[in-house]
């Protein structure tokens, strides 16, 4: 074991990928398309969300290119509107919401709690199919002319003033929403009912806690979005509406219903990412997460408070000032658990034994960017500054810091961290560290100027803007190209590593989770015998004694 890395790989000359594993168990396309195995479904999800991520990314590239110049010259403004709408819809509903839960969560939650599968494998498969149908509908929308309502579907714009494919997009989101409901439902049931002997709640890895919290939000929030979309669809078709002011309805009611889901949705997106960070920080500093209980409960606190803050999206939209007051106060409260998490992760490093493999680099990136993203969220949660900053590039920068700087970094950290477990092979370390660095630099270049742009007052969703904002936009676009490289690299070398990567062995990181105590890639049943959890989570001393025992018994 070298002094700068903790990776311990088996002897490459003799090591083999286990012949029996979940990939080789059955062959043929049908065995994948009809599978009930959570690991295979996770793989299907991984492939499909990567596909949609790059579609969304390409659209983002178009947005940045258009904004290179102040005039709307690359695209006409209605094209631009369609592009940013599709970017938002693809990225939120088809990438961010399912990203960590449906891939890494799907794959590892059952393994982490020592179960053979999720509680409802068929529902799990169904949720992937719903996702695919939703995705295909979004693609159909794109091909047949797009939609230009913005991902927020603001009424009455979306109900009476646009003639684009609102219906097919609405249907896509409705269906993808049910995919997410079923995933969340499955996780909650699994975490409650499928834990292996000895796996008490406070022995669960924090990744499981985070996904549990996110699942609560999915199950209780998504249906409200569904009904809001149904009402929009009904208003468009039969033209009577609770959202139409000319007929006595209230467009703000749509905002209430929409944000009742869509605010918790940002926690759905970020919480699983936070779970990943808890795992990586602990593993690469060889230490139990500092204040395990606080981190676990902060996830739940975010989920609970997350339901009561939605109207902070509507401060300037004409809600009553008194309810703005209440929602602003609650928003401040929901910021606290995130602060707790950040500091707890930082202090996990204290007196650790830290190494800097790629997942750890991404995690550091996450901590820095999420801190900025979270703190700028407070700017928007305080009702006064929200007046100036909302609906400008400040808010764009804020949520990209949280969603891209936070969630995407965490997703990449997780993918790298668990790649050896999923595929049995290591990714190439040096180039991936480079990719992590490129991503971080590119990200800051892209999105930091947008904070200044927003403070200066540049509105979001503008195809053309006053020329004095150009310089910062040029910076932002330049950064986006760097960021693009940062995202393409992992795809290339991860695919490469499927064939040429070093054989990882069971536990290359010397991590403590149950998922690491079985072969890589795992068996379809995950474990040969039902594991019994007889130690706390992140117990590195237990791991060492376990390894010592193994050496002794082999000797």
């Amino acid at each position: 074991m070298s002094a700068t890395t903790l990776v311990t790989l088996p002897d490459q000359a003799t090591a083999r990928i286990p012949k029996m594993n979940f990939i080789t168990k059955e062959n043929g396309l049908l065995s994948w398309l009809l599978t009930g195995d959570h690991k295979r479904i996770a793989t299907l999800y991984l492939i499909s969300i990567t596909f949609f991520f790059f579609i969304g990314g390409a659209l983002a590239g178009l947005i940045r290119l258009e904004l290179l110049t102040p005039q709307s010259d690359l695209m006409a403004s209605d094209t631009y509107n369609k592009v940013f709408t599709m970017h938002g819809i693809v990225m939120i509903f088809l990438f961010l919401v399912p990203s960590v839960p449906a891939t890494l969560g799907n794959f590892f939650i059952p393994m982490m709690i020592g179960a053979k599968d999720l509680a409802l494998p068929k529902i799990n498969l169904l949720s992937w199919y719903l996702y695919v149908v939703g995705g295909i509908l979004v693609l159909y929308t794109m091909i047949s002319g797009g939609v230009d309502t913005g991902w927020t579907f603001t009424t009455p714009l979306s109900t009476h003033y646009v003639n684009t494919n609102v219906m097919s997009t609405g249907l896509a989101i409705f269906i993808a929403g049910f995919s997410s409901i079923f995933t969340g439902l499955n996780f909650i049931v699994t975490i409650h009912k499928m834990r292996c002997p000895g796996m008490t709640w406070f022995r669960l890895p924090l990744f499981v806690w985070a996904n549990y919290a996110a699942s609560i939000l999915m199950v209780l929030g998504t249906p409200v979005l569904a009904i809001a979309i149904v009402l929009v669809a009904l208003e468009r078709t039969i033209g009577i509406g609770v959202f139409d002011p000319t007929r006595g309805g209230d467009p703000l009611l749509f905002q209430h219903l929409f944000w009742f889901y869509s605010h918790p949705a940002v926690y759905i997106m970020i919480l699983p990412g936070m779970g990943v960070i808890s795992e990586t920080i602990s593993t690469f500093s060889r230490k139990r997460v500092f204040g395990y209980t606080a981190v676990a409960f902060s996830s739940v606190a975010i989920a609970v408070f997350g339901f009561f803050v939605w109207a902070h999206h509507m401060f300037i939209m004409g809600i009553s000032n008194y309810s703005a007051l209440v929602f602003s106060l609650l928003t401040m409260l929901v910021a606290v658990p995130s602060a707790i998490k950040i500091f707890n992760w930082t202090f996990t490093l204290y007196k650790g034994s830290i190494t800097f493999e790629t997942p750890m680099l991404y995690s550091f990136g996450f901590m820095g960017l999420f801190t900025i993203g979270g703190l700028t969220g407070v700017f928007l949660g305080a009702s006064g500054t929200d007046i100036h900053l909302t609906e400008t590039y400040f808010i764009v920068a804020h949520f990209h810091f949280v969603m891209v700087g936070g969630m995407l970094m965490a997703f990449l950290a997780g993918v790298h961290f668990w790649w050896p477990k999923m595929t049995g092979r290591m990714y190439p370390e040096k180039i991936s560290q480079l990719a992590a660095l490129i991503t971080f630099i590119g990200f800051n270049f892209t999105f930091f100027p947008q904070f200044i742009l927003g403070t200066l007052g540049m509105p979001r969703r503008y195809a053309a803007y006053p020329p004095e904002f150009q310089i910062l936009n040029v910076f932002s676009t330049a950064g986006a190209t760097i960021l693009g490289v940062g995202y393409l690299l992992p795809v290339l070398y991860l695919v490469w590593s499927l064939k040429y990567g070093e054989i990882a062995g069971d536990n290359p990181w010397q991590a403590t989770g149950l998922e690491w105590q079985t072969q890589s890639p795992p068996l379809t049943e995950n474990f040969t015998t039902t594991p019994v959890m007889d130690h706390e989570a992140y117990d590195y001393e237990w791991l060492e004694s376990q390894q010592a025992k193994e050496v002794a018994s082999v000797g």
Partner: protein, 115 residues
């Protein structure tokens, strides 16, 4: 082992048909009561100008709530279920109220002050 058996028993507590019958009776009586109450003007309570509580809707909803509670507790076996199920029901109800309550808060306070 005994613990598990207990659990099993709890989960699979079979409610006697007599109880079901009694609940059915109570529900039908409740329905009759709520319809009957709707034909009577129960009056109103002026708390402040512009703020009046009409008793008819209050009574109708109270009866509906008690009927729902009976169905949940007995027909849906929540009375005999684990704490988890009870907690699930309560949390669902809670978030439901949060949605309605906090949205209505906005609507009712809009008239305060002049904005």
């Amino acid at each position: 082992m005994s613990d598990q058996k207990e659990m099993y028993e709890m989960e699979h507590h079979t409610v006697s048909p007599m109880i079901y019958l009694a609940i059915l009776g109570a529900l039908l009586v409740g329905t009759a009561a709520t319809v009957w109450a709707s034909f009577i003007d129960l009056g109103e309570w002026h708390i402040a100008p512009g703020l009046t509580v009409f008793w008819n809707p209050v009574v109708a909803l109270a009866i509906a709530c008690s009927k729902a509670v009976l169905v949940v507790l007995f027909f849906m076996h929540v009375k005999y279920s684990t704490k988890l199920t009870k907690l699930t029901v309560i949390s669902g109800f809670f978030v439901f109220l949060a949605l309605i309550g906090m949205t209505l808060c906005d609507y009712f306070t809009r008239a305060w002050g002049r904005w």
